[in-house]
Symmetry: C2
Amino acid sequence: MARTPRNTLSADLIVRTALELMEAKGTDAFSLRGVAGELGVGPMALYTYFRNKDDLYDAVRDHLMALLPAVPSDAPWPDQVRTVCRSLRLLMLQHPCLAQLLAGRPLSGHETARVAEGLLGVLRAAGFDAETAARTHTTLFTYVLGSTSWEIQMAAERRDPEAWRRLRTSMESLSARDFPSVVELAPELARTTGGDEQFDYGLNLLLAGLQVRTPS
Amino acid sequence: MARTPRNTLSADLIVRTALELMEAKGTDAFSLRGVAGELGVGPMALYTYFRNKDDLYDAVRDHLMALLPAVPSDAPWPDQVRTVCRSLRLLMLQHPCLAQLLAGRPLSGHETARVAEGLLGVLRAAGFDAETAARTHTTLFTYVLGSTSWEIQMAAERRDPEAWRRLRTSMESLSARDFPSVVELAPELARTTGGDEQFDYGLNLLLAGLQVRTPS
DNA sequence: ACACCGTACTATACACTGTACGTTAGGAGC
DNA sequence: GCTCCTAACGTACAGTGTATAGTACGGTGT
């Protein structure tokens, strides 16, 4: 029987091809059978390296997290925070599947911890007490996650002409009497959704609020 | 042939039983065949009322959005904003499936527009220009979405003893040398994740940053 | 009263999914 | 050369969403 030679697989190889498939065909179209086929291997071969699909998801997430650069050490802390948040957003934009990988699963894995360490270290060094540092970390993280996921979602919607058309007509069917602000600001909302400016706007709000309570 | 009498179904009835199933068995375990079975009807019967599964998702989302209370009109605008954000979070906590329904699909539907209208109206009335109002709306919305989704996700994780145990041991396996801040703040992070206080902390940061640039 | 037609629902089928189970063959160590 | 371990196999199952075609019922026009 034409059996593939042994030890051609490895956890890392599986993770890399899984990532390729997710980015090529979209996170939803990803399947274990797909990556197994790509590797010229039966679906069950993957279970030697991963306990189940979620386990593979976690591995891919950690693989992507490893790409995040380290925090620059020679800058005022607000700039450091900005850099961390921006690079996480950038990574999510470059790998849209990361949004779903981060949203649907808890955080675990060394690379994920490394990212948390960077941000927490900056906040502690800035002089925030334990509780404030923890709360700020969670706030910043969820802001980046939420706003970037939304941005990716909207961008995907815009690329699908059918969905985009339906969204437009749904918007235009709104009565200007019942929804004056939405109708008035619809162009503005469409124009400002996504993009560096929108992201930085919210990030700056958070940082401005944070600097008010800066420990001396 | 024992055929169910006609017109026993309706879009609204389907939406309500779909919602029931989502909340009873979890959003992931939800299936068209499940709700069809619950209604004593073949799976394809649903396609008379909804074009596909996503269409049904949208309808459920709008159904839930209708439960949001109106914005109180007699309060300073920061309090109004706080109220809107808090009630959206509360609704998401009461109906955990809403998080996934909001994250994965674009916004459309009258009830969803109503919510946007409330927040945008408050911001316009407070004197913000069009661009700032639009940007602020997006920022607040994505913050609420991101932080509450995260909260729900973590709460679900905590209820699954197996996943929770693995998360703990994964945390404890981190070297205090490589991840000093994470290790030090782990209890603080676990303690402060979720809850009204954490949500309000981030919301207050945003509002504080916003009030700095309040138009006199 | 009766034929008709649109529509609400059914039946069947297809191409998938993740994964449990039992089997087999390749390489390492004796 | 033999044994053992395990990586990869094949098969099977219980699901999924939905395309397609068929069927019976309710309301309408004559």
